[in-house]
Symmetry: C2
């Protein structure tokens, strides 16, 4: 029943660590085995094919999933290796009927010494050996030890994939007595989600992630609130504005609590224009090169708005920030009211100089384009750290902490970082890269869309798009080419650049690009932007590919179909 | 005698404006003539071939040089066009013996109404029609009107090329009576030049421009003073330290004058490490793609030093800078003691926020690596604006001016800017691009050198280089590839990144890159750096090529020769 994988191999969603799998002896690799460049494939008892890339990780997945015999395929050479399992115990176990297990027995297996058991629906699973391979960390999985994982999977819906369920089945040791279910009826964490505009392109429902259709981006400088991309990491929290308080504390500050009324009356109101962009915007171009774990964004996870609120610096000074405390604190941490099942809230931080230098434009915003923040955009108060990547613009803000260290949250420490194209989950050192703050210079073609038909009778092709650079850098030029970069047309920019180091808003642009004389039935449009530090976009995605698929700022390309006339 | 140019066409050194040439009627172009993509060629009376790119500019050059018949060659299609001269008067004139002219007659032709004549050695030239085509501007050429251009050419030695002399000959109307020479014996403006270290790679003697050999760059974090690259725009001025005064004035300031002793005693001494890089560093890679006017730099127009002096902010505050005047002034201008024949000094400016934000690290430096500044590096005082391109770090500092406008100097307004690859001297709008301030992220391989032999018996290739990014951005990663970017090795960085927004020094790096299994007799090493804004270098030079050849930060490539063993 062994078959080679047809088509492209799929990435193992949980990103198991290959070297660990080999060194732990779960997999005994051939002597010339490396952890790179392999795809694995097997066929399960229902004759369904399963395939993964990532070398030995695939072996682990297939072995632990009890899928029986399997192969490793080197996609470069098409050479096929049979790899021996050091222990095929679990596979053998499957042959005997699985026992029924009492819920009390499961509950007693809640530690590493006795073993860590969990249930999913009526299945019982011994995940002791999987703990250290859990991509979310052993400690998070331990929260379910001795109980049901169902509510956790309701929260983290990325588990709801066939591959994950299949992986779990490999750890099955029995069924609950009488087919019972240990999962208590927990309130749906997603009960507070608002209605969304149907034009948004939904990339994930829970948590809600959706982008603006490209052709709606370039209509006006300010993206309408209802069409602005949404990137939630957790369920939208229910907030009672009357009871809302913002706690401010930390290095060099006295601890204070501010109500919404305090924020509106004790501090001067400021308004700035600023672009927000998800670090994963344009990830899909990276995924098409090599699979990536993460929300599949096209180019619409970006938007620009006019934000009103109070100045973070004013609030920090109200709480006692002065030159001495500025020197003590190096970061400003933010916590949101959105939290997971363990009560761990979303968190991020920015360097304190962003709050106190460069015009000190970081806002605690309560309005977006002249209207109160909507639920999806952080009602009642969110951070707007202009020039900084979206992930640090914490929504539903509950707490501000000045500190010597940056936020220790998962999203600051183990996500939203980029690495070399050769770094993957089996060799990544998260501490080796800084948390993304100001994003790199980027641009994208919004019109025409991919695969639009153009006629050779047209002398020029009208092209529209956006361009943006982080850190207050203004975009000074956008070049567009229809002949693979042989010639470039300089686009007309929509806006006069803002003050040199405080260009927080994107630039919309348009160009009339000469129809190339030579083509092969299709034309590729390319755009690239240059900012006022004369940084520009790299030519190809391959050089900036990274395991998280973040900050893809390669030249943006759109293919058009040519109709001869 | 018409011949097509063999080999690559050469750029017209003076960058004449094609459209102007066509529109002024000097050249009558074919109806389908465009000012792009043409090369021109002609053969002179000595049977030497002359060729230029740049469309009609070439026509002008050849016509005015009196070279007789000529052709335009489209290098794309190899199609050849014969272009008619609207006026071939000068060519005809050559046939009659040229008259002898009195110096008094030359002196009387010093305005556009009567005509603008100049002399060079014993030749007399009517340059009236050339005035508007002079790349340095008509006004600069007018300074020589009615007199000798010899001393100007002694100052601006870029004129001393065969093409320029040939161009001038086309304007010849006679010879001075008795072969006399109008050029007065002027003092050699380059009489104060210091001795230089013989290891420097000299790119121009007058003004002196020289770079550090690549293999000497990566030896230590601080480049030795004597080996530090030198980029002079004008002769080195003679400065008497006892008589030296620095004038400080402008928006919101009282005018003050400070002696060297004042600087050393009235202000606190500060020391910073900072990298300086010429905007033209790595120009040679751009020139090899398409000719460029400018000093031919390899990758050694960069260096790093420890600079000591006083804080610019302290001096500005001493002269009365406060929050109100900060708001009024937007730029800080600097003037050097180096000046041209008209007394116009070198000048540049930086945005005032560079002087007052980001730790306010801009120095008026009097020491370099613990020793007084040398003559070549700005004795007695120079600006060190860390994170800012070399050209704004004015040497031999004489004057500081706070102002609403940036410096109006040639080097701020009409040089040290970059444009789209399709922008050339015939369509450039200098105002459309900002003056370079913080340079983009870059890196280069210093060892091994180009064409080094490597043996296949080696498992890895040791590679060393530098990486740097402007604006206080730290380099967070350098990737090196020996297989055209299929795989990358992450280099080891020499230094821990400095405080987030104040990384003023370069990073040295080294990597052991696996010897690729496949090669074609040679291997291309590639490096690329990424900074903490996750900006990275573009893949190819073509996309960043610009008419001034500045800020080339494409992936750096070094070719190695493989010896099979």
């Amino acid at each position: 029943m062994q078959r080679l994988l047809s088509g492209s191999a799929r990435l193992l969603p949980l990103g198991l660590r290959c070297e660990q799998a080999v060194s732990s002896g779960i997999v005994k690799a051939p002597s010339n085995f490396t952890t790179r460049g392999y795809a694995a494939v097997a066929t399960d008892s229902s004759d369904r094919q399963h395939g993964w890339q990532l070398g030995a990780a695939a072996a682990v997945a297939l072995a632990t999933a009890g899928l029986g015999s399997w192969l490793l395929l080197d996609p470069q050479t098409s050479h096929c290796e049979e790899v021996q399992l050091a222990s095929a115990g679990q596979t053998k176990k499957r042959k005997a009927p699985l026992p029924e297990i009492h819920a009390e027995d499961v509950a007693a297996h809640n530690n590493k010494e006795r073993g860590v058991w969990v249930t999913y629906k009526d299945g019982v699973y011994d995940v002791t050996d999987f703990l250290e391979m859990h991509p979310g960390g052993a400690s998070r999985l331990m929260l379910a030890a001795g109980g049901a994982i169902d509510p956790f999977w309701a929260m983290y819906q990325q588990h709801n994939q066939e591959e994950i369920k299949s992986l779990l089945e490999g750890y099955r040791i029995g069924s609950l007595v009488g087919g019972q279910d240990m999962s208590q009826q927990v309130a749906d964490p997603y009960s507070n989600e608002p209605k969304r505009h149907p034009a948004l392109v939904v990339r994930s429902q829970k948590p809600f992630n959706a982008e603006t259709p490209a052709e709606l981006l370039t209509g006006k400088l300010y993206t309408p609130n209802d069409l602005f991309y949404v990137r939630n990491h957790l369920p939208v929290p229910a907030v009672d504005p009357a009871a809302y308080t913002l706690r401010v504390e930390g290095e060099g500050l006295r601890t204070i609590e501010l109500s919404l009324k305090d924020l509106r009356t004790k501090f001067k109101r400021h308004t700035i224009s600023a672009t927000l962009q998800c670090a994963g915007n344009r990830r899909t171009e990276m995924s098409s090169l090599k699979d990536i774990k993460g929300t599949v964004w096209a180019a619409g996870a970006i938007g620009n708005a006019e934000w009103s609120g109070v100045n973070l610096k004013d609030v920090l000074e109200y709480a006692g920030l002065d030159e001495r405390s500025e020197a003590e604190a190096e970061h400003v941490q933010f916590e949101g009211l959105d939290s997971d099942m363990e009560g761990v809230c979303y968190g991020a931080s920015i360097p304190i100089e962003e709050a106190v230098y460069k015009g000190a434009d970081v806002l605690l915003a309560y309005e977006m384009n002249g209207r109160p923040l909507s639920k999806d955009h952080g009602f009642p108060v969110r951070v707007i750290a202009p020039g900084i990547v979206g992930a640090r613009n914490v929504k539903w803000l509950s707490r501000i902490i000045t500190s010597k260290e940056e936020s220790q949250s998962h999203w600051q420490q183990h996500d939203y970082k980029s690495f070399s194209p050769n770094t993957d989950y089996d060799n990544v050192d998260w501490e080796s890269a800084p948390a993304i703050q100001e994003p790199n210079v980027t641009s994208a073609i919004c019109e025409p869309e991919n695969n639009t038909a153009v006629s050779t009778s047209e002398g020029t092709i009208p092209v529209k798009g956006f361009a943006y650079s982080g850190g207050g850098h203004s975009v000074i030029r956008v070049d567009v080419s229809a002949d693979h970069g042989k010639t470039w047309t300089v686009a007309e920019l929509s806006s006069v650049p803002a003050k040199r180091s405080r260009a927080w808003s994107w630039t919309l642009w348009q160009a009339e690009v000469p129809m190339p004389k030579e083509h092969t039935g299709s034309i590729e449009l390319i755009c690239k932007a240059t900012d006022n530090a004369y940084n520009t976009q790299p030519d190809s995605v391959a050089g900036v590919w990274n395991l998280r698929g973040v900050l893809n700022n390669a030249w943006h390309r759109v293919k058009l179909q040519v109709q001869e006339e």
